[in-house]
């Protein structure tokens, strides 16, 4: 089964709590919590190498993930259109990353649509996040 109800519930509860909360700090999850939720939702273990490949590859659109975040997001990236600096994506280099489930979901939704023309699957999110977590100082 691809979507065990327990995992979906976990993600929904975490995201719902974050959305309902007025203070971003009120619900602090860890990137590992999110990874577990996405992995459970995917019903498979995450593959960091596949996540890296997804991150740097073209998915048929003008931009790739790496276009704005850089091929190795252990440092600031630069928005491909506006040039605005984008803080590092890897949690070890930016502790705010992947600690707010609603925010993570919002950006996956937007950015997957920009680079792939669709939403990402839970497996793709888990792969990418698992790779980001391998990036260490």
């Amino acid at each position: 089964m691809n979507h065990p109800p327990s995992a979906r519930t976990l993600l929904a509860v975490v995201a719902g709590l974050a959305a309902a909360s007025l203070s971003p700090a009120a619900l602090a999850v860890t990137p590992a919590d999110l990874l577990n939720a996405y992995s459970a939702q995917a019903g498979a273990a995450p593959q960091p190498a596949r996540g890296q490949q997804f991150f740097i590859a073209s998915h048929g659109r003008e931009w790739r993930c790496a276009s704005c975040h850089g091929a190795l997001p252990n440092q600031a990236g630069r928005h491909a259109a506006t040039g605005k600096s984008i803080a590092p994506l890897a949690p070890a280099f930016n502790p705010e990353r992947f600690t707010d489930p609603a925010k993570a979901e919002k950006w996956f939704r937007r950015n997957c649509n920009d680079v792939a023309g669709r939403e990402c699957t839970a497996a793709e999110k888990a792969d990418v996040l698992s790779w980001l977590l391998t990036l260490q100082p």
Binding site: A19, H79, A81, T82, G83, K84, I86, K106, R109, R110, N111, N113, D114
Partner: protein, 162 residues
């Protein structure tokens, strides 16, 4: 208190300011200082993630309203937001939108950079300058106006990078 009971001083000041603005008698800072709008934390958090927090006074209300209904395709990018945040941002942007000469007509494609006043104020900047890697686009206010994210577009602080 009915309108008839209001102290007249407020109305008088408004009229004098409106007259001065209409006659172009403002101090330079009046035209280039857009810091008057009260900040909205959601605006910075949501919109300034990808570009500077453009002061709401740079576009007329009609443009902001159109942009806020088209966030899933925001100049080619998915900038979609939940409905409650869209409503809050739209209300704030509309309330603080451009007034007077800057408001009409709405610029082509609702782009700040297509506004008549924007084009006039930048008419001495050659096309090649805009394309420099350090500038990239006319939408990158901060490249030359280092106080742009605070609403400071004072001409004396402009520095065009190489």
């Amino acid at each position: 208190m009915t309108p008839d009971n209001r102290p007249p001083s407020g109305w008088l000041a408004t009229c004098v300011l409106a007259f001065a603005a209409g006659m172009g008698l403002c101090m330079p800072a009046c035209a280039d200082d857009l810091r008057a709008a009260p900040p909205l934390p959601a605006y910075k958090a949501e919109c300034a993630a990808c570009h500077i927090a453009y002061p709401p006074g740079l576009l007329p209300a009609a443009s902001w309203q159109r942009l806020m209904t088209q966030l899933p395709n925001h100049f080619g990018t998915d900038a979609s937001l939940d409905a409650a945040t869209v409503t809050a941002l739209s209300t704030w942007l509309t309330a603080n939108a451009a007034q007077g000469r800057r408001a009409t007509p709405p610029p082509a494609e609702d782009r700040i950079t297509r506004s008549a006043w924007f084009i006039r104020k930048h008419d001495e900047v050659p096309a090649a300058t805009w394309k420099r890697p350090s500038i990239k686009s006319a939408s990158n206010c901060m490249a030359c106006h280092s106080g742009a994210d605070r609403g400071d577009f004072d001409e004396h602080n402009v520095r065009i990078p190489r």
